[in-house]
Symmetry: C2
Subunit: 483 residues, 2 copies
């Protein structure tokens, strides 16, 4: 496709996207297709001849749109916000148009340097330590793996250049809580630590935050048994309840044993743009790395996950490669992001952050984040004061974990009396909300029973949408209780 | 930014991209900026207030374009082709506009199912075994790491659920050649095998391909020493010289020891669309995984790397997670790509492949690949027959590795007599070509001396561009020899 065909098709597609975004509120939130339904509409072979753009646009409309859950919908309250702001989409389009090759500084100096500048802008906006350096990764899963690989190698004095992890005598151990994201266990497994060496430290029964004394006891038991504590993953805003582990109390414990402290603030990191929320990471200056995802609540188109490190030398020592065909005369003077993560090549992802911040402005972004925190507090207040409803975890961020409790299923103190009936009821009304297409919420297990997470923060979600959701929840629970 | 502002800015950006692509031939190929030059033009802080789109466009033009090496230029012959076709850029724009959330099948059924269909289209186009399944990864580096993690876990009967790699007694070993991409050593290091357990098997001195008897000897020595051969990475089209390891001879050896066979065809995979090039992977039905990058020569906008596996059960067993908030009623009936790689979330990358294949058509893509192979043979013929020039490796694909050899520096048989002078000469004329902006080639070490790689295959490179390059090379070498 040449530039002039692209021009014509591109204008059509821009109009299609603008129209699509405008009509999202009229679409069902949850995709209404069954397994295989989308694939069944597609031909079994690639076309030999070029197809006209109109046919692609028609398929986008009739096959793809009904086949995706509308997470840009104002009544999307599922999982976590996954805002894809149109300002950042323009930055991504610029990246595609440029078609730059991000393998070394030399292959695209601007790709590296805009990334350096933009991650520094965000470091400053989130008040992370001045000496920390940042890099864009694809996701929090990868960022956590990268941090644990650096932790593993630092703890073994860089065993990768010798016999690797398999030559180490005393096993390395890693700590977090059972509320950590599933990607933490996955990173532990992929890094080769083994599940036997992964400790789920006890949490406070009300806040679901890690208990530092339980961490201390776990570390001491491992040390006494000849194991070597290597890393702790501190959860700032867990997926289940947005619980916040006490970083300031964990850091000194970890430092005593030379452990790597990785802060997983994948969702909550956006809140650090608000000075009143910086308490979330009190003590961070003693940590080794922190990750958060602008592609969640902040709204930079995914994939865009920020990994900040106190000392990039650890990443570089673990990740660097230096084949002859990638060398250049300026290597000592520039940042080579290929040595800060797993892939050699990288997209010009900095452009979407750059466009997002510049086209929307930080003031407006902060106002939107505050709007969402306020909406979550409002919903929590409604739920708390409604008979038969309960808020199950502190609402410190923008997610409300709640349950409707028909008479007799839960004691006044909150003890579940009939788990089977309660779970069936919860899943029934949540499914009915989701199946209706009017809103989307996420059922989730908490203390062994199903609850419902309402995660507020889609870019277009206003108070009226939260009010409407609250009416929908009450209606669905009433019907489910009656039926 | 709302839909109407996006519409206006989007039209401007589409026009800018079309104009930019059309004038690339007039731009210098290599970025002409020094370290820090781009960063120095950017403000130190993110803006509080939204900026007008015109300012972003002006910065793209004046700061970003001069700051990237123009790999879409018709005289870009560096590294490997990194084509970003405009058809695939439209698919990527559609993905950005949709803003879908790719964490589970449920979060975006079409994101999963279009990917399944498109990777199956490409499996069929490349004649890989019918039973193999594919998944899009970001890069070949990650794909190789994923394959080696699967190999590690299969070889240890899934040690990740027990003590991990650190509890294994006999070390696992991994094999490839010194011509493997640097990402293979990196993957070995990250997977925890350790450099001591990584074997660089000898190659044929003319073809640079792995010698199966050297592999057999290395494996047998390790087994005799109590080590456990776990994986071999077979290079189909190395970065240095596009050497092709003899897969059909390697497979039976590897199978004898239960080793995982990963085929790294990152660049060469595109050639598999041509029936006459399928010999590259003769024997592939006995391998376990194969990776190639449509974001190289084929021209699908990066990141877009295909990983095919004979049995996805190994990936899933190693990579799967199942937190309550990601469960759905259809889990058993659908593909969950989160369990096929490292990240939980994925972009709707299948759209760019889908758009690319449909808007360009397979016939035209094949014609372009054949054009490039033909251009490489033409250049190799010119170089071979020109006095003082030598082609240093077989030209089986689209890369020509060459050298200009002033009298007295190399013997008639090709032995380097004065390495210092030869290297200085080679780097001098290559740097002068690159510095001129007229074309870009990549110096690379081969058998310890600098050579120059001419990698043909930019989307817009025609025979006339290769002819022009050949004149440039001869001119630069003459000047360097005289000076």
């Amino acid at each position: 496709m040449g530039p002039e065909e692209f021009r014509a098709a591109g204008h059509e597609l821009i109009d299609w996207i603008a129209d699509y975004r405008a009509r999202i509120p009229q679409l069902p939130v949850q995709a209404q297709v069954g397994p295989g339904e989308v694939a069944g509409k597609l031909p079994g072979n690639a076309p030999e001849e070029a197809e006209p753009f109109s046919r692609l646009l028609a398929d986008l409309e009739s096959i793809v749109v009904p086949g995706v859950t509308q997470v840009q919908h104002p009544r999307y309250f599922g999982w976590f916000p996954a805002n894809s702001t149109l300002s950042s989409a323009l930055g991504d389009l610029a990246s595609a148009g440029l078609g730059a090759l991000g393998i070394t500084w030399q292959s695209a100096p601007a790709l590296t340097e805009v990334e350096e500048v933009v991650v520094e802008w965000l470091r400053e906006l989130t008040a992370l330590p001045r000496s920390w350096r940042g890099v864009i990764q694809d996701t929090a899963s990868t960022a956590c793996l990268v941090a644990l690989l650096a932790a593993r190698e630092r703890a073994t004095d860089y065993s990768e250049v010798r016999g690797g992890l398999q030559a180490e005598s005393a096993p390395l151990t890693v700590y977090t809580t059972e509320h950590a994201h599933s990607s933490v266990l996955k990173a532990v497994a992929l890094a080769g630590f083994g599940r036997d060496n992964f400790r789920l430290v006890g949490v406070d029964p009300v806040t679901y935050a890690m208990r530092p004394e339980a961490l201390a006891a776990a570390i001491e038991a491992d040390v006494a048994a000849g194991r070597r504590p290597a890393a702790v993953v501190v959860n700032v805003g867990t997926t289940g309840t947005t619980a916040v582990d006490p970083l300031a109390e964990i850091v000194p414990l970890a430092q005593r044993y030379g452990m790597w402290v990785h802060v997983d603030a994948a969702m909550a990191g956006s809140a650090l743009l608000l000075p009143e929320m910086r308490w979330l990471v009190d003590g961070v200056e003693g940590a080794d790395s922190l990750n958060w995802n602008p592609h969640k609540w902040l709204g930079t188109l995914g994939d865009c996950s920020l990994l900040y490190v106190a000392d990039p030398a650890h990443l570089i020592r673990v990740m660097s490669t230096n084949p002859s065909y990638l060398r250049s005369a300026v290597d000592g003077e520039v940042t080579q992001y290929k040595d800060w993560g797993i892939p050699l090549g990288r997209r010009f992802r900095a452009l979407k952050l750059w466009f997002h911040l510049r086209l929307d402005g930080v003031e407006a972004i902060r106002a939107r984040l505050r709007r969402d925190l306020d909406n979550a507090r409002w919903l929590a207040d409604q739920v708390s004061s409604a008979p038969g409803w309960r808020v199950l975890a502190p609402v410190g961020l923008q997610t409300v974990v709640l349950r409707h409790e028909p008479a007799g299923l839960v004691s006044d103190a909150g003890a579940v009396l009939d788990a089977g009936a309660l779970n069936a009821h919860t899943l029934a009304w949540a499914d009915s909300v989701n199946g209706s297409g009017a809103a989307l919420v996420t059922p989730s297990l908490l203390d062994g029973a199903w609850s419902v997470r309402v995660s507020i923060g889609a870019e277009t979600t206003e108070r009226s949408d939260v009010e409407q959701l609250w009416r929908l929840l009450q209606h669905a629970a009433t019907i489910a209780e009656a039926g």
